[in-house]
Amino acid sequence: MSSLTEKDRPIVQLLLSAGTCPRCIFRFCRVGSQTLYRHPYKDLMKDLKQFLEGNQEEEDRACFDVADPPCKRFRHGHTEEGADDLNQNGVLSQIPLANDGNADVENSDVENSAVEVCNVCLGILQEFCEIDFVKKMCEKVNSSDFQFTSFVFSVSLPPQLSVREHAAWLLVKQEMGKLDLSLAKDDIVQLKEAYKWIIHPQLSEELGVPTDGKSLFEVSVVFAHPETDEECRFLATVCPDCFKPAKNKQSVFTRMAVIKALEKIKEEDFLKHFPCPPSSPKNLCVALEIQCNNGAVFVAGRYNKYSRNLPQTPWIIDGERKLESSVEELISEHLMAEFKADSFNFSSSGREDVDVRTLGNGRPFAIELVNPHRIHFTAEEMKGFQQTINNSSDKIQVRDLQLVTREAIGRMKEGEEEKTKTYSALIWTDKTIQKEHIAFLDDIKELKLDQKTPLRVLHRRPLALRCRIIHTMKSQYIDEHHFRLHLKTQAGTYIKEFVHGDFGRTKPNIGSLLNRTTDILELDVESVDIDWPPALEN
């Protein structure tokens, strides 16, 4: 537990007169006690001044004792006294002096600097630690109507803060050098870290849920300080290679680029271009955006398709919908409404053509629901959704509907490339057939095919040659021109082309095997042989 000691005195004096706020001073003095930062601003200011005036160690300790005396605890978080209120410009108004108000001429510098916006944090560790701001954030969270059990808080700071931090560090380093002491930049408490120490408990209390680094619910704030936006510019002249113009980004002076440049720049060069200590700004930062969003949730299941007129994804040409609805819309619509998500991404373990049915156990699919406002659903409720979807349409049916993790999606995609599928095809032949003409197909095992990219997809796929295997076949004679063929094939086999030959570009094919012209009249997927998602008792 570190607190201010005698050797910190010159630093405190230096920074306070430069216009640095108490919490930033603590950071530069490497104060690691979180509780200390949470003390009310007024008290911290008062105690700092007392510290500067006092000379005894006991007095120091009493001021900055980690265990809060009752009066301090009581006042934590409250701003009843008008003294802390900001005036219209967001500048802290006069705070009464710690001692009995006798304007001490020698301390006049200290007194005046107390009212200013901090020259290092630009108000982040001042105004933006107050309960009013916390309440404002909570208002935004509550009005956004999200369901969550924990939160993670993220804050984005304007890049010039790093520059000012750097300048303050150089100043302090110099001063400490006089006492033969050193201060590494890493020793300074990070601004973001200190800010979170102060904000987390307050936010947690207002929202009624704990913070959790792994939480899917994120509350984020973006701060900006337009008044000092130009302060980073000099870095581009001194370290031009750190600032590459990025096409999409508005400003080249990103936080990362600025930090990189500060690591590279020599002390002398920095001091030539930037005031040390940093100047006191007129205005506070502004909170540009307060946003909340929930991490995506994933719903998986298997679908059957009973329509020969239903595309997987919406079929829209030139803004005109060519076929009504789609597999993904029929499944996702209801889920979108229940989860109150912004959008969805539908994916499945392979897919079938518009005119192909999917029978048997169905095809595995997963839906990513983006930024869902509702996330807590029991297994019973999920079953309810499944029923609703199934009642809404006879074109598709779903089963095994359940919540899954993002990692689970990988298993589904594995299936697409590795697992076998079985099909049933209704085949027409030009010349007549008898049972004996097709019986031999049943005996063919592991038939190797060479399939060029089918003509029907060639306009949007690269020209390639695919080797695929038909594992087994079983024929069912119907009449002189028709038979049904059941096949088990490797993933990625084009069945239609295997039947009609695709101008001889799939070899061998049913036509070449039977020495006839053949065509496929109907195709059904009988099974997709993958064990995912886990089957549920229906």
């Binding site: 053509d353 029907r456 060639l458 306009h459 009609h500 030959g501």
Partner: protein, 202 residues
């Protein structure tokens, strides 16, 4: 006639015909454009008349499948009885062989670009005649049929499917205009009739 052939894989295509004038042997070309109900269409099979090319254009949706398959039209001399093919040559000039066409990627980069009059191949028959097969449509050459090199009979047995000459992909912007200047099967029949009448009449 390729009636039987019009089924099977060629069912998904609409046939268009190109007739060319000039030359004593006026043959027809046949081109098929995609029809079909699937979202994927192949393209047009272009049969040319004159020397008889039949491009088949596949597709039900004009904005998707635009692939065209070039085939010989029914009235082409090479498809008449008694003709024997002695050679098929895709080397159309000292610098250009259609066999060297290499495409890569979805956009078929590297493809040889064809205009309507670009030769695809030259076919010689045992009676000493040589026929040049033209593209009839503008677009990128995707592939030529190497199966007919090893088995020239295929060209005569199944001219509209397995004996195809080439696959061509017109530019997206030109996919609709590609059939302008081509004849429907009915129009083609009329032209053939007129020729018969004029040759028998005179």
């Amino acid at each position: 006639m390729a009636a039987a052939e019009a089924l099977g894989a060629a069912r998904y295509f609409t046939r268009w015909y190109k007739t060319s004038r000039g030359g004593r042997a006026r043959t027809s070309a046949c081109c098929s454009t995609p029809t079909g109900t699937g979202r994927d269409c192949a393209g047009a099979a272009l049969s040319t008349q004159g020397h008889g090319f039949a491009p088949l254009r596949h597709g039900n949706c004009q904005s998707c499948c635009r692939i065209c398959v070039i085939t010989l039209a029914e009235a082409h001399p090479l498809l008449q009885p008694g003709k024997t093919i002695t050679s098929i040559n895709y080397q159309i000039s000292p610098n250009c062989s259609r066999l060297q066409n290499k495409v890569s990627g979805k956009s078929k980069r590297g493809a040889q670009f064809l205009t309507e009059l670009a030769p695809l191949c030259r076919i010689a028959s045992s009676d000493g005649e040589e026929y040049t097969i033209y593209s009839c449509i503008r677009g990128r050459l995707i592939e030529v049929n190497e199966n007919i090199l090893s088995n020239p009979a295929l060209l005569q047995e199944k001219p509209s499917t397995e004996g195809y000459i080439a696959v061509v992909l017109p530019k997206f912007e030109e996919s609709k205009s590609v059939t302008q200047g081509l004849l429907t099967p009915e129009e083609y029949k009329e032209v053939l009739l007129k020729r018969q009448n004029s040759s028998s009449g005179s």
